[in-house]
């Protein structure tokens, strides 16, 4: 219940009680959602658990559901998301909750490995460094996908992840696509195979929630479309 405009009316998910708990948090001129959570933990309830590290949008550890939408909380201003002074903060969707606002991201990262999101070098440290021209199409595609901070916002935004727990998800597939375009990598066939199973890239419905919410304006949908294209091409090449 909004009291007066100098306070925010904040509902925070508590895993113990399995319900939201209301806090009245002093409103400030310039205030992020992470500031609000931190204020609660420091001034109202020290048992509130949540995760953050850099506070400047680099580390990707602070993502939560804010009024039902996935956001990086350290770079999300209260002014942008509060609805008449109200904010609801919940743990990231599509992940197990460890406690309160802290989720277990193991599934998320295991899927990066399952999608062959691992670099397979083709040279050793004794070799010359390979020059990659910035204007090749591969480098341009890799560039477009490379600035991921592993925040899990896209994973929480994806309805296919919600419906199909095996689905590798936008971030892992986006990573796989940046490696498909890495001319120094030597595991192209393995990677295309890894993203072609029941949980693979072909399950994406291209509805672009991931791209709409990615705080770094990446477009995993486009990366996944690239994977679909390359896997089909590879299959036809094998068929020949």
């Amino acid at each position: 219940m909004p009291t007066d405009s100098s306070f925010l009316d904040v509902d925070v998910w508590r895993s113990g009680a399995e319900s939201f708990q209301n806090f009245q948090v002093p409103a400030r001129d310039s205030q992020t959602v992470l500031d609000v959570v931190t204020w609660i933990q420091q001034h109202a309830d020290p048992t509130l658990s949540y995760r953050f590290a850099c506070r400047v949008g680099m580390c990707g550890s602070c993502a939560m559901m804010v009024n039902g939408k996935p956001r990086w909380t350290c770079r999300t201003h209260v002014k942008k998301v509060a609805k008449r002074g109200r904010i609801e903060i919940a743990p990231l969707r599509n992940l197990q909750v460890i406690k309160d606002l802290a989720t277990d991201m193991s599934d998320f990262f295991d899927k990066w490995v399952a999608a062959e999101g691992v670099f397979h070098p083709t040279k050793t440290r004794e070799d010359e460094i390979e020059a990659i021209r910035p204007d090749t199409p591969e480098r341009i595609s890799a560039d477009a996908a490379v600035e991921c901070i592993n925040c899990g916002v896209c994973y929480a935004a994806c309805d296919v992840v919600a419906a199909n727990p095996a689905y590798l998800g936008p971030a892992a597939l986006n990573r796989a696509w940046s490696l498909v375009n890495d001319l120094r990598d030597g595991a192209l066939a393995e990677r295309l195979e890894a993203v072609s199973h029941d949980g693979g890239c072909h399950n994406c419905h291209s509805h672009q929630s991931c791209a709409a919410y990615c705080p770094n304006s990446l477009n995993p949908t486009a990366s996944i479309a690239g994977l679909k294209r390359e896997t089909v091409k590879a299959a036809f090449r094998r068929g020949r």
Binding site: V160, N164, H202, V232
Partner: protein, 110 residues
């Protein structure tokens, strides 16, 4: 619940259907323009290998395409998986193929 094989099948059948749908609509518009009776239509389609091939191909492509599409819907919304999901996919495919083939047969058999 789509692997590469099902994905390719669905895309290829979509590619096949697109021109057939356009052809179907074009023929309808042209044929019906001056008014056309069922007898007139049947007199042209019955015994025609061309129309049997045209609509037969469409029925086959549509059956495959729809079965894979419904498979995804049923998996995501009804949580059907494994053998049940495969049986569902095949049942939809065979049912559509049966009904479609009957219809094609009815208008093109001599």
């Amino acid at each position: 619940m789509l692997d590469l094989r099902l994905y390719i099948l669905q895309r290829v059948t979509a590619l096949i259907m697109a021109p057939l749908v356009l052809g179907h609509i074009a023929v309808m518009i042209v044929a019906v323009r001056g008014g056309l009776s069922a007898e007139e239509i049947l007199s042209r389609t019955q015994g025609s290998l061309l129309w049997a091939g045209f609509y037969g191909t469409f029925v086959l492509a549509a059956s495959v395409h729809a079965a894979i599409g419904l498979r995804v819907v049923v998996f995501e919304y009804a949580k059907l998986k494994g053998l049940a999901l495969s049986l569902f996919t095949w049942a939809v495919f065979l049912a559509l193929l049966f009904m479609g083939t009957r219809a094609v047969f009815a208008v093109t058999a001599p």
